[in-house]
């Protein structure tokens, strides 16, 4: 017994000294950091905690605190489950489309060809277009007398003339269910694929050239070089792109709203907003808390799947 007490004492004293030394050493940095730190605590962390607390409050003014009533109310709403499904579906569709398109464009840009600078500038264009504008622009394309229908109509006419198709295309309502889901995903894809492309391009440029040359000498085909060298070495970049995009895709809110389909395709964020509009504050808070839990589960599951270590950098 005595030995353990004696063992502890210097340890405790040592820690105090360490903390004092830490402040002595870093006081200047800590002073500089304080305003930022306080702002993030007060204006990000505190609201998050307030929101979670609110979600466990009874849904009337001055209601008792630990109560699951809002969550029970949430799970009895059909629209909640609908928005849960839509959120997951849109996240899956848009992130996979963005990864495929981003990888494709990054591979194209990693080659040398005439006009590459111009192509790169065009590919980065959506980054400079506000999200709302990206979504409203999609209305001209996806509306029933929009440009997508017109392009398909013209194509079908060509096919009719060639005698391949029997009659010309009649038009689809892309902003109605079930296609509206894809309209939202594509609107999101148009806006953020440049970001994915830049992350993957940076990853591609970090792959040493000699690897490809060595593989070529060994007689590897283009496809083999892609699957044996490019993809494995690109994994960290792919992982960070999926995580960054996945988080944002679950939080999608502006695209359905500006496309004018948030009534037909409710997502969790727009569900939380409509509850807020109806002054069901606790239900709204519960919905966004569930969204947070979903994001956490998705990120952790994905990290488990691919191995967390490579993302940490």
């Amino acid at each position: 017994m005595e030995t353990s007490v004696e063992m502890k004492r210097p340890l405790v004293r040592f820690r105090w000294a360490a903390i004092r030394d830490f402040f002595r050493r870093y006081w200047f940095e800590l002073v500089l950091l304080a305003p930022l730190f306080i702002y993030v605590l007060g204006f990000t962390l505190l609201p998050v905690i307030q929101n979670i607390v609110l979600s466990f409050q009874e849904p009337y003014l001055g209601g008792g605190f630990p109560s699951l009533e809002s969550y029970v109310a949430l799970f009895s709403k059909y629209r909640f489950f609908e928005s849960l499904q839509n959120t997951i579906a849109i996240a899956l569709i848009s992130v996979s489309l963005e990864m495929l398109a981003g990888l494709g464009v990054a591979l194209m840009l990693s080659r040398e060809f005439r006009g590459r600078g111009l192509f790169r500038a065009i590919m980065l264009l959506p980054m400079g277009i506000p999200t709302v504008v990206a979504a409203t622009n999609m209305r001209y394309i996806f509306s029933s007398s929009g440009y997508l229908n017109e392009v398909l109509y013209d194509l079908s006419n060509v096919l009719v003339k060639l005698g391949i198709a029997g009659e010309s295309y009649q038009g689809l309502s892309f902003l109605q269910e079930p296609l509206a889901l894809f309209a939202v995903a594509i609107s999101d894809m148009w806006k953020v694929t440049p970001l994915v492309m830049l992350i993957l391009l940076a990853g591609l440029e970090a792959i040493p050239r000699d690897l490809y040359e060595a593989a070529e000498v060994d007689g590897a085909s283009t496809w083999q070089r892609f699957t044996q060298i490019t993809l494995p070495l690109l994994r960290p970049a792919i992982t960070s792109a999926v995580i960054i995009r996945g988080i944002d895709a679950f939080r999608i809110f502006v695209h359905p709203l500006a496309l004018g389909v948030s009534g037909q395709v409710p997502v969790l964020a727009s569900f939380a907003y409509s509850e807020y509009q109806d002054v069901h504050l606790t239900t709204s808070a519960a919905a966004s808390s569930i969204l947070l839990v979903m994001i956490l589960i998705a990120v952790i599951a994905y990290l488990r799947l691919v191995g967390a270590r490579e993302v940490i950098e």
């Binding site: 464009v105 400079g128 999200t131 001209y140």
Partner: protein, 311 residues
Amino acid sequence: MKAPRGIFTRILFFVLVVAVALLVISPVYFMLIMSLGDPEETFATQHPDYIISHLDFAQPGDRDYTDTSWDRILPRWWSRVVLEPAAGGVRLDADLASRLFKSLRVAFMTAGISLLLGIPGAYAISRLAPNLKYGLMLGLFLTRMYPEVGIALPVAVTFLKWDRILTGIKFYDSAFGLELVMAHLIITLPLSTWILVGTFDTIPRELEEAASVDGASRLGTIFRIIIPLAAPGIAVATIFSWLASWDEVTYAIYLTLFNRTLPLEIVNIVGRSPPPVIATYATLVTIPVVFITYFLQRWLKAGYLAGAIKG
């Protein structure tokens, strides 16, 4: 990598490049012709034209016709959105002006305050012990995981509470835009700090040590050595903060009622106004962004973008 080989692959590659470029440009192109062109050609028809034959100017007899020189310069939908009749001619539409100026004010103030808090904060993080630095960076990244609708709700409640307690200063739905500056900082502070930490990390500590040997104070070193060297990264952080604030809609929805921002106004008129009016608003929101990115693009180098992407 080398250029693609073989004439057939090269043609295929070229076709692919052109097709992808067209797909990316087309939404913006359709927005422009929608706002400039004749609705008979672009939207009031079952089969819209790909190319507009003429700019659609207001004609005498139109509801919006004001008969000033502006009617010969601005296409019909532009003069409808941008101008309003006033004594002795036309002036900038009052609603549009208030929204435009609120958006501009909020974006510039958000970018400015992000730098004011972000530069010292990021410098400190970059000079802290590695464990602590990593923890803080991860913490900043984690703030992105929480849905904005969840943060905006308690913030809106807080602002309404403050409005009841404090007299003389208005937060919720203020004309000035203080509530949005405070809310947009929630997004831009982690973003700019991420970019700035990446920048400060590239500046060797030996430079600071040399300066302190020469007798400069630590604050003096930051102002005279660190900040000038970090200028490109600071510029990128400013641009990204400005753009994030200009782009932002979610907090604006929760925190304003009548004093809307320009992007929020677009959300508000979707489904209510004719498509050319929406397209004109959309073009208006895009113009400042194009200018800003054009004039500041020389700062947008890949190395700094890498930091921005991670944020």
